[in-house]
Symmetry: D2
Subunit: 365 residues, 4 copies
């Protein structure tokens, strides 16, 4: 209720601060019998972890995850799955100077107002370091979705500052530090980021996540529509300021005949809906785009106040991502996977005995 849990039937609860001894999580509701190992979780954790290229924060964390319960002889037992990652590269003294200041566009001021008090080391609980546990849990959800339902959840960076991706080759996404699916853009991204780092600046980005082979029927009208819960899931990621499903904001200028995805026996003729109609999956690809703001931890000085309300000039030292959007792809995938997993279980609860009527419309004509 105080915000540390996500998902109603496949429920992830997390703990941990940027500079505390460890991050941890409990997954409640994972079905029994799923083969899962620490290695399965490590794959996505390694995709997210810091320090893997010069374009991300230089904090070095192995992010080795341990499964502490809920798995027996290599399979989930249906009981709570406990996960833990120890923090190893905290440098709390980097932050002592900001204990008395509110960094602009950070959670410093709002956490202080909320709790009357805050752990200022590296942002404490508000640090994106917390997302490691989402990625670990997302890996469990992804594996279940893939093995049991054939669902594939994948993402890519679709824009970084002014640079827009023009082609999507899924095979390329994990071959560069940007999760960029367009080979032609990678050198441009390298140059842009190198220049940005020299400036001491940061920049925003856009990430696209797609779930394929989702069966029709997932999503709970009225308030827990699949798109509403996806928006919740994705907007809960640090730095996200916008969400689109399918055509998104382009819908504003579309006319009805243009937007509606006509149906033929061979499949839908378009996918403006982004795979969701009436809040329920249609069987088409589920497509979401998210906007991520530029990091606010900058080496360039900015105006702010201290805890006494006096004006100060803030410079954020420490190690930071110049574009948090870069590492957001595995996190967005994780949140989409967890949302789908949760909705699959919710659907199974209420409609577990519904025999789907024919025809199932193919995803795309």
């Amino acid at each position: 209720m105080s915000g540390n849990s996500f998902g109603k039937l496949f429920t992830l609860t997390t703990f941990g601060e940027s500079h505390g001894p460890a991050l941890g999580a409990i997954i409640d509701g994972c079905p029994p019998g799923l083969e899962i190992s620490e290695d399965d979780l490590q794959i996505d954790l390694d995709r997210r972890k810091p320090g893997t290229s010069r374009h991300a924060t230089q904090r070095r964390e192995d992010d080795r995850v341990r499964i502490l319960s809920g798995v027996f002889e290599g399979k989930t037992t249906g009981t709570a799955i406990g996960l833990m990652i120890e923090n190893t590269d905290q440098r709390s003294k980097d932050y002592s100077n900001i204990a008395q200041q509110y960094r602009p566009a950070h959670a410093d001021y709002t956490y202080n107002q909320k709790y009357g008090f805050r752990d200022y080391r590296g942002g404490g609980r508000s640090s994106a370091r917390e997302t490691a546990m989402r990625v670990a849990a997302g890996a469990v959800a992804k594996k279940f979705l893939k093995e049991r339902l054939g669902i594939e959840v994948r993402g890519y960076m679709s824009q970084l500052g002014p640079i827009k991706v023009e082609k999507v080759d899924w095979d390329l996404v994990n071959t560069n530090p940007f999760f960029c699916p367009d080979a032609d853009k990678v050198p441009e991204l390298e140059r842009y980021m190198d220049a940005l780092r020299k400036e001491g600046e940061s920049v925003g980005a856009k990430v696209t996540v797609v779930a394929s082979h989702v069966p029709p029927g997932l999503g709970e009208p009225i308030f827990d529509r699949l798109d509403a819960e996806l928006a919740h899931a994705l907007m809960s990621i640090n730095a996200v300021k916008g969400i689109e499903i399918g055509a998104g904001f382009d819908s504003v200028e579309q006319k009805g005949t243009q937007h509606r995805d006509e149906i033929t026996p061979e499949g839908f003729l378009s996918n403006n809906a982004g795979g969701i109609l009436g809040g329920v999956s249609s069987g088409q690809d589920i497509v979401a785009h998210i906007a991520l703001k530029p990091t606010s931890s900058l080496h360039l000085p900015g105006k702010s106040i201290n805890v006494s309300g006096e004006p100060v000039e803030v410079v954020t030292k420490g190690r930071h991502d110049p574009c948090v959007g870069i590492r957001a792809t595995p996190i967005a995938e994780a949140m989409m996977a967890i949302t789908l997993m949760d909705h699959y279980l919710r659907h199974r609860a209420q409609c577990g005995d519904v025999v789907m009527p024919t025809p199932v419309v193919p995803a795309q004509a």
Copy 2:
């Protein structure tokens, strides 16, 4: 859990289909002692109700709400508030022809796949008629927020198809059928909508909702950030395809120094954050934009299939809104008010004894 409830501490649960005998709702968790009457709820219901201009559906519903419990001698008692609106202008036979067809871009196909079965009369539960109950509950939340906390939740239509609002005069919003805050645009909107109706077309729209005088501290990190729950709330409204908080998708191309809202003792210097930092309200205006797709109930024929999978040409008869975005303003306000109300109660639960540290940064310099 099956989607008919919203809010964790101020909880709205609704029932009702477009062509059933009645719509109803239960509000659980409203604090005791709030003066409330049916008239208080009627104000917003009348703003939303159909048939009030030629630009909306011609279905005639009085939408008279009855309070059936939870209010005694004019005040809320703290117990469940029961609400009901009787449907009076159903014309179910308009829909008999679509019982065997899936209208493109409607919930027909997905509901059938989910439940194995559907109430096809006027979209049944998937009809936007359901939103009347959100507006009724939103009026309760708005009144509480205004009277107890001074919070004001207001909205306007910011774009309709290609027509963008350029000025915001709050006093104008309720003086025209479009919730348009820009007097210069109203004649243009009239002409555009008249032409659209003749074509048999529909169009998308954008609505902006703003909450002013929100105290800092509302929002529950990590997963129930205020922006995440707002995104959930707003995306749960029929036809919404996109959400932005503050700068939204513009953040993608912004640099850090541009996006970060600097702070001075006199207030924040900008509001790219849209009033939320780290998922917690900052005291600035909370600003959200939503994209609404064009209605899919068109008199222009479209390709689809019937329940046997055979190709059909669908023409939607009946009475429909050519732009659902027009009537969405009070609904969006309601969902924002309910979300804030819920978060206020959640904050009070956990941090009810926190004495806010000074200084409270003024909303805007």
Copy 3:
């Protein structure tokens, strides 16, 4: 969250006061395709309703239930089911004298302390009249459990004051106003109640509820064990002061060899567990006993205070049940049915693809 809902996946939310215009409820999560009519609900409502014998309150209520949504062409659609019963025989003036007094053993004082204010007419929300909606929802659950799973939920009054039932003939339960399964005790109960009424007294009772043919596997360890949720469900009924599962308080003096229910290929040899092991159903009958206190609405004067803290002598006028335990049987059945229904859906969500291993132990050798 404020207490007006029960069940996590099959969720009942209710509203209504004793002397308000109506009682109502929303059932969220009922699976689609269940044939259900108002008549199906009326059967149990008629078993619970007041005024059917001289041993219950003489308030006359038809308790006619209307289904307002969620059922189409005789079947549940999977969407929210709205229910309503209009109150017809309120006599609020009977209660004006107690507006300023706290009746001993009633909720008067505690509601006033909680909410700062209360609807004093007939106990307002704290009246057992609220249980009508539980019975209506319980009838839906019972029908599903019976038709889809073969589960039967039945109850009887097992003790009234000093009179203990000695034989259980299920066929007799609904043939007398006491829900007594032992024909020999009925005349004794009649005499006892007649004398009690003359005295102006009330008395406690014990009710037993049994669910038969429950599949093994229902119940969610650790905190939502089936017995824990049953205890919650049953203790939420007005006037209940004790709960036993299986051997209950007799377990205190039992030794391990005596209590453990040994298993043979032909079935369990006893049922001290009451059908639940480790919080999960075993396939044996689920057996619960509840203790109900004597009504506190007495014509015999009692000491109390008024809202100014001055001593007063309270005499409760109005129409009351001299033994609330009498009408509690259908309510207890309803709460057990709702709990089982909820747990069935929860089990189906998480373990919907578990193929039960053989052997399934027969219920009883």
Copy 4:
């Protein structure tokens, strides 16, 4: 939703198996600013831990708890509190013989039926070892309740087999291994338990828990009455088969004039209600009794079946408590404290601005 969480606003989620590497928990919703240390938690953990007398299991566990997050500079921050205890004295091979058998009165058979599969080492998740985390979280709740509200939650063993406690001297409870408040009974208990252990038998027990100085107003009508949630909390403890609030099952034979707790300006004249009226605390002591069954892990052979359905004779080797009721006192206290804490926060959410009317009735005349 799958049972690993308790509490809606003060939420405890746990993981861990008897023979896994560690037990852990996350507390979500603890208010900020509470001074708390590992030592505060250790006090109750040491009261519960095994191996401290010859009357409990001889498994040796230090049960040293670590706080991994949510506490900064000695105070809770309002964010998630992560807790962990490493298991150190697992002897899994003791259990290899029961992998193929269902021990009577254990969760073996039901877990297998539920999940299709189980961790058979020491009962896995169904082991009472899980309760360590409840005790740790309970210590946090107890500290908050004591410091902020003056509430004291205490328990004692009130009966063991045939031996009933006759006097309650709170100062004695923690001076003997039985949590017995009656000095005269301790030698008798010693003798009884020594004999029982020689027999290879086990026995049931009764535990009483009392909360004093609880303010009136806690509890959420209708379904989340304080007594209903307490019943849920206490029945979720392993081996509990019965719950009584106040007079409990004695209410069955009481008459109204005898049961009702009359009120005078000096206080209530009795406490049959056990401190709860209409599901809401009255300010009197909250009194609950629980019945615990005898352990089923016996050295005396019992009839059962194996996973192939064949008859077997089961003898449970390993180290077990001959009376689980003995160590249940701190667990019951913890569950009552967590329940009260949760209800305090829930009350504060909805009624945080209610100014209590005078007079507050004193607890007892």
